[in-house]
Symmetry: C2
Subunit: 247 residues, 2 copies
């Protein structure tokens, strides 16, 4: 069944991957700070994610929110992630609850757990013969303040799920690139997410039933240190790409 | 060995419990938004925790920071916990790293995990014949936005430990009351922390060696659903009080 979906941060790379394949699958409302430069598959709202009133208006009649908006830079300074990522995400959750939205899909990041990649474990953990595996039940270990902000967003989701019954899934997105995996970059190959798998994964987040989940968003790479079992089991994620096929 | 300790939020209840017993044990610098009303055991800095410059100045020459400052109300609104608790804590960590501080002791809270107390588990989990036990390795489940802010502070500590080698211990403080445990309140008795045990626990946080820890701060109550094993093992915490002795 097609859903009415609000996509925040629609003009970014993840939004591009999603809309490139799902434009006709759902009814879209798009929100971004930057106005669109070409034709869009739905109503486009130009607003900052911290603009409470605009975000509330954009939620009207929406079933599902995919919340991508925020400062996407791993090296982003604290003031920016505090405002855009932490405060912005709370604005989204609060408005979603008030608007009676059913599900919020939160774009978390591999950076929420980046500090598990210690000097002792790397580069071995990026290789197929290493069995180190994170599955989303571990406490966050952010490698930067951007990662701290993503972990905080996940905890906000936990609260809004527990308190208001909102369905929340956090997707710790890996390394999203179009066409082929990063070249000569083992880490990037281990956490590669193809555009095709990305769109499919978010489609599953829109359609599946769940309570509160943390899943890793990567393709079915031979090399991986993130488990995709939870995404398969709960969301019905069936990735079709594998960075090893591009060697 | 006596340490030079900066105590933020010194005028609050936890600060009162600490200074009431440890005033002569360490060299204190005290910081609070509110000026003191009586004699203090050390230099007193009147400043808001979000005042970057004042916090940096207060760190000078300090070995250990006990960071209590923040909005302590479980029902505090988002804007206040975002500013005072999340942003304020980042200010403290950043200043501590720059000043070469060795340890930061962060006053976290039982509210970081309050939503584990579901309708299905309570009141059974507050009783001695129930074996439900949280030990600090579980993902946070805040019962309110104040709890979200405390979980975010813990994650900030994880980052500053991993990135800069700062020793960080998060104390999820239970129900701190002077003299005797809460009366006719099973939950409060299960998570009681006496003033005496509170002071001893923070003294251990000042003196012990650790990397990154999350511990529960409660007395050795017969009724408990928080493990104090980690506090015993890593910090050498030896509580002397038990809410069951006050029935």
């Amino acid at each position: 069944m097609a859903q009415s979906v609000l996509l925040t941060g629609a003009a970014g790379r993840v939004g591009d991957a999603i809309l490139g394949r799902l434009a006709d699958e759902h009814e879209w409302r798009l929100l971004d700070r930057d106005p669109p430069t070409d034709e869009q598959p739905g109503e486009f709202v130009v607003a900052d994610i911290t603009d409470d009133e605009a975000v509330r208006e954009a939620m009207d009649g929406v079933d599902v929110v995919i919340h991508l908006a925020g400062d996407p830079r791993p090296e982003a300074p604290w003031d920016s992630v505090l405002t855009n990522n932490i405060d912005g995400t709370q604005t989204v959750f609060e408005a979603a609850v008030d608007a009676g939205v059913e599900k919020v899909v939160f774009a978390s990041s591999n950076h929420a757990v980046g500090a598990f990649e210690t000097d002792e474990r790397t580069p071995e953990m990026y290789r197929t013969d290493d069995d180190y595996l994170l599955d989303g039940t571990e406490l966050p270990r952010p490698g930067n303040l951007y990662g701290v902000s993503k972990a905080a967003g996940e905890t906000l989701g936990r609260y809004y799920h527990d308190e208001y019954g909102l369905s929340v899934v956090n997707v710790r997105i890996g390394n999203l690139t179009e066409g082929h995996p990063p070249i000569d970059y083992e880490r990037g190959q281990a956490m590669w997410l193809s555009y095709r798998d990305c769109a499919h994964l978010f489609d599953r987040c829109i359609r599946a039933d769940y309570g509160y989940e943390i899943v890793y968003g990567i393709s079915d790479n031979d090399r991986k240190y993130y488990s995709i079992d939870r995404a398969r089991d709960v969301l019905g994620y069936e990735p079709r790409d594998n960075s090893a096929d591009h060697d």
